[in-house]
Every structure is written in C-alpha cells, then in structure tokens.
C-alpha cells in the first residue's frame, strides 16, 4: 500500500506540532522518521492513525484520500500501529487481545476464541514469532508483547505498519530480532514506517530516511549517510556533547557497596550481588539498557526498596536498613529518574518544592512551624543561581517545562550539605541548553570532593560524565572500566558479554 501525506498541520493551542509535513511511503520499503523527542513524529503518526484530527492537509492511501474519524477507520483502511507504550490489556490472553475490536462471533455475539487462537498461531508461525495464543499478556516478556502488537496489526490485514520508538524498551538482542522481523515484513510487501531517534537502528534497516525537526521536515537522507550528518540534521546544528572537566582529584573511598541484592515483589532479584566503590571527588557512571537493575540500585541507595540485603556504607555509616529520611539526612542527594513521579510535587510552588526533603528540621522548620520567610529568600536566590525560567517562586512546578523542572530538582539537591550525589537519568527529556547546565553542575559537585553516581541509558552521557564506567546487565556488574573504553566494547558489555582481555579498574 502506498501512503502519501500531504501538508499535514496539527496545532495544540499556539504550539504547532506538525507544520505542513509531506511524506510518501512505498510498499515494500522501510521508511524511517528520524527526529529528537518532541520533534513531532508521534503527533504525525497519531494523525495518521486517526487519534488526532489534522488541522490541515490530507492522507492518501493508494491514491484515495482518507477521512479518519478514529483509529477504527484507520485500521479498516489497512494501517496497523505498534505503539511505544503497548496497547495491550495485561489481564487478557494473547488471543483476546488480538481479536479485540475485530471479533469473530457466533450466536448472539458469543466469542469464537477458537478462531482467534488459530489466527494467532497462523500468523505467529508464518513469521516465526513463537507466541502462545492462550498466554496472559502480563506474563510475557516485553519483546514477546511487542510481537503480540505486531500480530494484532497483521491479523487485521494491515498493509502499512507504523513502529513508534519500538526499541526503547528492548534489549539489544530483542532489538536485532525486531529488525529481522521488520525486514521480513518488508519482503512480504508491507509498507513500514519506523519512528526513532536512534541512529544505529536507522542505518541498519532504513530504505529511506526523513528527518523531522521542530514539527517540520528538514530533509531526506540516505542510509549511507554518516552519523554526524544525520545527527546535525536532527538537532539543527553540529552536535558536540563534550563536557569539559579536569582530571579528578580523588579522595578516600567514600561509598562502599558490597554484595547488594534487591528483590522485587515477585521474588526476582533485580539487583544481584553488586559490589563497587566510589571515591570522594569521583563520578562513577552506570551504563546499561533500561531495566537492568539501575532503578532498583538507585532506589536501594535511597532506602526506597523494601527487600535489600548486602551493605551500603557511606563514609563509614551503614545505610541498608535505614529509612529514606535518615539517608537523606546523612547527606545523600537524589535526582530521581522520573522527576514527575518522584522528584516534584506538581501542585506545589517552586518554593514549596525546594523544601520537599527538608520538612523535618532547619533551616525551613522551627518548632513544627514553616519558616516561610526563610524559604522565600532561599527560593528567590536559587531561582537565579540555577537559571530556572519561571515568573516567580510561586509558580507551580507542574507548569514549568521539563528542563526547568529538572533544574528545580537539581537546585534542591545540590543546595543541601551533600556527602553523595545519586543522579538517575539527570537529563532525560531536557532541552540541550539545560543539559549543558546540569552536566556542569554535576561536574562541579564532583570537583568539590563529593562522590557522584550517575545512571544513564544514554551512552553519550555516560561517556561524557564518567571517571569510571560500571556496566550493568540483568542486575549484575559486567565490568567496571575506564571512561575511555571504546564504545563498541561498552555496547558489547551492555548485552552481558565481557571481553576476555577486559580488566576492571579499581578506584
């Protein structure tokens, strides 16, 4: 099926998310949409899928102009979508998920589950998916869930498949398998739109590449284009993310973690026997694909996990078994990986957010009363110092942009008397200007002699900040290596493989 998008424009209030975007996708080709987060790729696909209505422009399939009023229409027209957040119902079986909205029924609307199972098995065998139609979706690994999404689309005879950031949650192997599936689908004559911001993947499978920036098409590129070319098209200027930092002035061992084990509610060890040390004035960066124990590690450091064994010793004090409050009071600063969930109270003002983890004692508390004067003075100062772009300190945190929200979190943590900084995904969803600012602050913290643990799934960030790199895979340390380790080696380690000649660097 041949898809033509002509002059699609979509506005949200005063923001133009898609500005007159035109695009053609041929059958039997993989067409990549490349762009930064927030560039407008997902909006465009939601327009195509009937979830949003375009303000201007038209969608044409095989020469016919379409008027979608909802996803049902788009599906009926042969468009299938594999969503970034899977649109699957966890407590339904695979067959139920696949048939939902497209049910085969018998007498009085009774479901023909048999037929659905057969259909799943059929498609599953054709593409070598190995999916059991009777399994509950919530029991399946992420990679298999994604295949269920694909089966869902194929069972509706989709001719055009849209993959929206499909690799964000996959392990490297699963990513490779997905690439293979996409090639297979292409061979079968399907048209494929592949949305991503990861250059490696684009170059691996794309037949054509369209780059989108700030809601506009900025150009097409060949899969043979270099990384640097693609990156500068995507960001709009030559990109150089080097953080300037001096050689570390290492102090004594400050944080000593031994045989740390974190078990989740289901009884699985998410962190499995970690041991590492960070010295004063050093940044240890944790690399790894999302979901390999990083979240649990940082939460265990903060006392936010329940089932923790082993030991975490900070400057001679054991932290395992202490409450979050005690750990914070012991001087641990925490930039959580999801500021919206763990970092900020969106309904509080900037000032109120700045005292969030100091609600028990001075300087903002006296005899159970808030010291609002002191808080306001402090907040006004930090607003300036950390370049938070807001009207005033009474602005609600929920109304700030991502970058400014993160600056509020950073300001709050760095203005305490720290003995350790734990920064998880410190620049996720943050604009380039704020990234530079936050990176500088983290380096400054390290230079003042404080040990820093940075967790990031962006290899760039890890390499830019780290004095040493610790690679995690399935909750275990693959290796602790110098910051100048080649990226190829790090990438390999992130899949759990440890090069034979690799030597760990001690601190």
């Amino acid at each position: 099926m041949r898809l033509v998008l002509r002059g699609i424009t979509k506005r949200f209030g005063s923001v133009v998310a898609n500005d007159s975007i035109s695009l053609t996708v041929e059958p039997g080709e993989i067409h990549c949409l490349l762009g930064e987060n927030g560039a407008g790729k997902s909006t465009l696909m939601n327009v195509l899928y009937g979830l949003y209505k375009a303000d201007e422009g038209e969608i044409e399939l095989d020469g016919e102009v379409q008027h979608f009023t909802g996803p049902g229409d788009a599906m009926a027209a042969g468009i299938g979508m594999v969503h970034q957040h899977f649109m699957l119902i966890p407590v339904f079986t695979v067959a139920e998920n696949v048939m939902l909205g497209n049910e085969t029924t018998g007498f009085a609307g009774s479901l023909d589950l048999e037929a659905a199972s057969t259909r799943v098995t059929e498609i599953s065998e054709r593409f070598g998916f190995h999916v059991n139609p009777d399994a509950l979706v919530e029991d399946l690994p992420v990679g298999v869930q994604q295949r269920v999404e694909i089966i869902k689309a194929l069972s509706r005879d989709a001719e055009l498949l849209v993959f929206d950031e499909p690799t964000a949650v996959l392990t490297p192997q699963e990513t490779d398998e997905l690439m293979e599936i996409m090639r297979q689908l292409k061979e079968a004559g399907k048209a494929i739109v592949f949305i991503t911001h990861k250059l490696r993947e684009v170059r691996a499978v794309a037949d054509r590449i369209t780059v989108i920036r700030l809601g506009k098409v900025v150009g097409e590129a060949e899969p043979t284009a270099s990384n640097a070319e693609l990156a500068s098209m995507m960001v709009g200027r030559p990109v150089e993310l080097v953080v300037h930092k001096d050689e570390p002035e290492l102090g004594a061992d400050a944080l000593v973690v031994k045989d740390l084990r974190v078990t989740d509610l289901a009884g699985h060890a998410q962190v499995d026997g970690l041991s590492f040390t960070i010295r004063a004035g050093e940044i240890l960066a944790v690399a790894g694909v999302q979901g390999n124990g990083q979240t649990e590690l940082t939460e265990a450091l903060l006392g936010l996990q329940d089932d923790v064994t082993g030991s975490i010793v900070l400057d001679g004090t054991e932290l395992v078994g202490r409450s979050t409050r005690q750990i914070l009071d012991a001087g641990v600063g925490f930039i959580p990986e999801d500021r919206q969930v763990d970092g900020l109270v969106p309904g509080f003002t900037i000032a109120e957010n700045l005292m969030l983890n100091r609600s028990f004692r001075s300087p903002f508390v006296k005899n159970g009363n808030l010291r609002l004067g002191a808080l306001r003075e402090f907040a006004a100062e930090k607003l300036k110092q950390y370049d938070v772009r807001a009207r005033d300190i009474d602005t609600l945190a929920g109304n700030l942009s991502g970058g400014n929200q993160q600056k509020v979190v950073v300001a709050r943590e760095l203005s305490r008397d720290l003995r350790l900084l734990v920064a998880a995904q410190p620049t996720r969803g943050v604009d380039v200007g704020s990234i530079e600012f936050i990176h500088k602050q983290i380096v400054a913290t390290r230079d003042s002699g404080i040990p820093v643990l940075v967790v990031s799934t962006e290899l760039d960030e890890v390499v830019a900040l780290a004095d040493r790199i610790m690679v995690l895979y399935r909750g275990k340390v693959v290796g602790i290596v110098p910051a100048d380790t080649p990226r190829e080696t790090l990438g390999l380690m992130m899949t759990g493989e440890r090069p034979k000649d690799l030597k760990d660097v001690a601190s």
Binding site: A76, M81, G101, T105
Partner: protein, 434 residues
C-alpha cells in the same frame, strides 16, 4: 522482565489498593490455614465457655412438600464437637498443603463453612428447631436486592466506572416501583419502572463521571444523598397525602415453579420464590456468560482495564461505558423493587437502609466477578437471615455482631486478609480523548 504495558494508574478515584504506599507482600499461602485455625478455635472456645445440652432438630421439610423429608434430630453438644473435629481435620489438611506448597482447592473452605455452621447451629439451637428451608430460603429472599445491586456494581466497575450510587439506584427503584405499581395496578409495570429509575441514576452518574470527569466516588456519594432527599421529599409531600392511590402497590406473590418447586429441600428454597427471584437467576446467568464469552463482554472488560488500548482498536470507550452503566443501573434498580413490592407493599423513607453499601461490599468481596459477587451477596443475605433466626431462638450471640459481619468481612477483604482483590485497572479513571 515485567510488563511495560501502558497500564493506567488507578490513583485518581479508583478503588484499587494503593501500592505506591504499601507494597503488598506475599502472604497469600498462609492466610487460609490461619483463618481456618482461628475459626475452629473460636467454635471450640464457644463450646467450652457455655456448653449446651439437649437435642437440636434440623427440619428439612417445608409445609407443603410433595415428598416430605424427615426431621434430623441430633444431640447438640456431641454434634458440635464432632464438627469441631471435622474443622480441625480440614485445617490440618490446609496446613499440610501450605507446607507442601500445593494449591489450596476451593472445596476446603466450602466444606469447612458447612461443617462450622452446622456445629455452630446445633450448639446455638440446643433444644430448639432449625428450619433449614426458611433459613436458606429467607437468605435467598433477603439477598435479592444485594445480588441485583452487586451485579450492577460489577458491571459498572468492569467498564471502569465506580458505582457508589448503588444505594441511590435501589432507593429510587423502590420508589418508582411503588408509585408505578400503584397507579397502573400492575407490579410488573412496577418492575419496569424500577429498572428505568435505576438507569436514570446511572445516567446522571455517567453525565458527571464520564462526560465531565467529576470524581466518580464523589458523584456516587452525592447522588445517594440526592436520591434520599428527593424520595423523602416526595414521600412526605406526595405519597403520604395520597397513600391510597400512589403508595399501595399490589405485592409480588410467591410463585412456585411446577416440578422444580417440588424437589425436596432445594425446591422450597430456590423455586418457591417471587418472580423477581426468577428474573434474578436469569440476570445472573446472562451477565456471567455475556461478560466473559461475548463480544460485548470482551469490550466492556477492555474498556475497564485499558481504555486507551480499546480506543486504538476502534472501540468507542465512553459510549461503551455509558451503555454499560445504564444497563448496570437498570439491574440495580430492579433490586430496589424488592423493597416496595416484595418485602412490604409500599414505599417508605430510606427503606433500603444501606443495602446498596452491602452490595458494594459484595462487589469487592466477590472480586469484581458476577458469580463470586452473587455468592458474596448470598452469604451476606444468609448472615442477615441467620441473625433473625438466631434472635428468634434466643441465641447468645448479640444480633448486632451478626449484622456487622458483612462489613467486617469486606474490610478484611480489602485489607488483603481474605483473598487478594484486584479491581479492573482503569476502575474509577475517567477517559479523556485527545
């Protein structure tokens, strides 16, 4: 690796347990043996503290049976102790299974419940007579509004709409049934009116909760107050002055089903009831089947679990929710007819007396499943009837504690002490389309 499916987080009005605060621990396996052990000890304790001598008569026959079953007369003390031993054995079996890490089968709690109840009754009714037919048949009758209400609750919540307004639906149903049956002279018309009234309350619930995203619990609570106010107002201003013409409906009479009604024991309990009960059987069966086995049911459940996923496959989420809660409201409203057409003839102020909240309890205790919720409602009906029976024969257990039982059991259930309840994931979460 765990699921990353985009599950809506139910912390804005839904009734799910708050896992953000209290990560629920795995204590499942130990619960049943502990519960059984405690109950057994309790029974033994009662027997030890005040031993009753004499015989207990269990009467199995109803007055006009085709085949008359004989009475069973047992010595009350020894029988009770035998039952304690049975309970002990069952507890031991449960403990054995726990230690062997084997699944606990459903028959253990059921047999235990029967044995425990038999022991308890033979003690409580020493030198007395337990009429099983009226004990159980009465339980069914008392459970009518609870089952209707619980079914309405289950349906609504399965579609993602929390329905605290069951009480209001029952009450308005009772009100409409009384007026309509009085003016038309037909209790059947009353039933229809009750269903319409229930659906009307649901419509208002939908208007605020679905269309205007108002917190569903708030709407439900306020609707209950509104219905109380309205019906009280109308009762005083309109019904009371015109009681003859507006509030003297013909009562629904018991209608024995031929053949089925003549089966010993079961017949008189289940098949010599009012037509409303037979409607109930049909509704339970249809809802239970339809929810799991039809396209309609699949879509309802999808909308309640993950509305966005349903939307992306072309299901109109809010339309589905509206339809479902209207149906649910109609079912709950039917239950209201019990009060003014079956229990007594005529409407009275606040005559539902909190039955809607017991129905809500049954929804949760029944884990959002139509059959389980029905059983839970029957259990609560039984507890209520048992209280009546016991106070008639002069039981030493204060009746207030018997009446408290459904509520206590529900608290234990939501606290995870009696089975783990898992509500539909999007229960109580309004769906906003972009």
């Amino acid at each position: 690796m765990s699921t990353v499916t985009d599950t809506p987080t139910p912390d804005s009005g839904g009734l799910a347990a708050d896992t953000a605060v209290a990560p629920t621990r795995k204590a499942g396996a130990r619960k049943l043996p502990i519960a059984l052990g405690v109950l057994t000890a309790l029974l033994a304790g009662i027997l030890l503290r005040s031993a009753h001598s004499g015989d207990t008569t269990f009467q199995l026959a109803a007055e006009s049976d085709f085949v008359t079953l004989p009475d069973i007369v047992v010595p009350s003390g020894p029988t009770a102790w035998v039952m304690v031993v049975v309970c002990l054995a069952l507890t031991a079996e449960a403990v054995r299974r726990m230690l062997a890490h084997v699944r606990q089968p459903g028959w253990i709690p059921i047999v235990f419940a029967i044995a425990w109840m038999t022991g308890f009754l033979s003690w409580a009714a020493a030198d007395g007579r337990i009429r099983l037919v009226s004990l159980l048949g009465g339980a069914v009758a008392l459970a009518i509004p609870l089952v209707f209400g619980a079914l309405g609750g289950v349906l609504g919540e399965r579609a993602g709409v929390v329905n605290i307004a069951i009480e209001g639906q029952l009450l308005l149903g009772a009100f409409a049934a009384a007026i309509t049956a009085s003016t038309t002279g037909s209790p059947w018309a009353g039933l229809v009116a009750a269903a319409v009234a229930g659906a009307l309350v649901a419509l208002v619930l939908g208007l605020f909760a679905i269309t205007y995203f108002v917190d569903q619990v708030i709407v439900g609570v306020v609707l209950n107050v509104l219905v109380v106010g309205l019906t009280n107002f109308m009762f005083r201003q309109v019904l009371t002055p015109n009681a003859e013409s507006l509030n003297s409906p013909e009562r629904l009479r018991a209608f024995p089903i031929p053949v089925l009604g003549d089966i010993p024991l079961i017949g008189p309990i289940l098949f010599r009831q009012t037509p409303l009960v037979y409607v109930l059987y049909a509704v339970v069966a249809i809802v239970a089947y339809a929810l799991y086995r039809t396209r309609w049911g699949l879509r309802v459940r999808a909308v309640g679990e993950h509305p966005k996923a349903a939307d992306t496959v072309g299901i109109k989420v809010n339309r589905t929710r509206y339809r479902t809660i209207l149906l649910a409201g109609a079912i709950a409203g039917l239950g209201g007819a019990y009060f003014s057409l079956v229990s007594v003839a005529g409407f009275n102020r606040e005559m539902t007396g909190g039955a809607g909240y017991i129905a809500l309890a049954a929804v949760i205790f029944g884990k959002w499943d139509p059959i389980r919720a029905t059983l839970a409602a029957l259990l609560f009906g039984f507890a209520t009837n048992l209280q009546g029976v016991l106070s008639a024969i002069g039981s030493p257990v204060p009746s207030q504690f018997m009446l408290m039982l459904p509520y206590l059991v529900t608290i234990l259930a939501v606290a995870g002490l009696v089975g783990r309840s898992r509500p539909p994931a999007a229960d109580g979460v309004p769906y906003r389309q972009q």
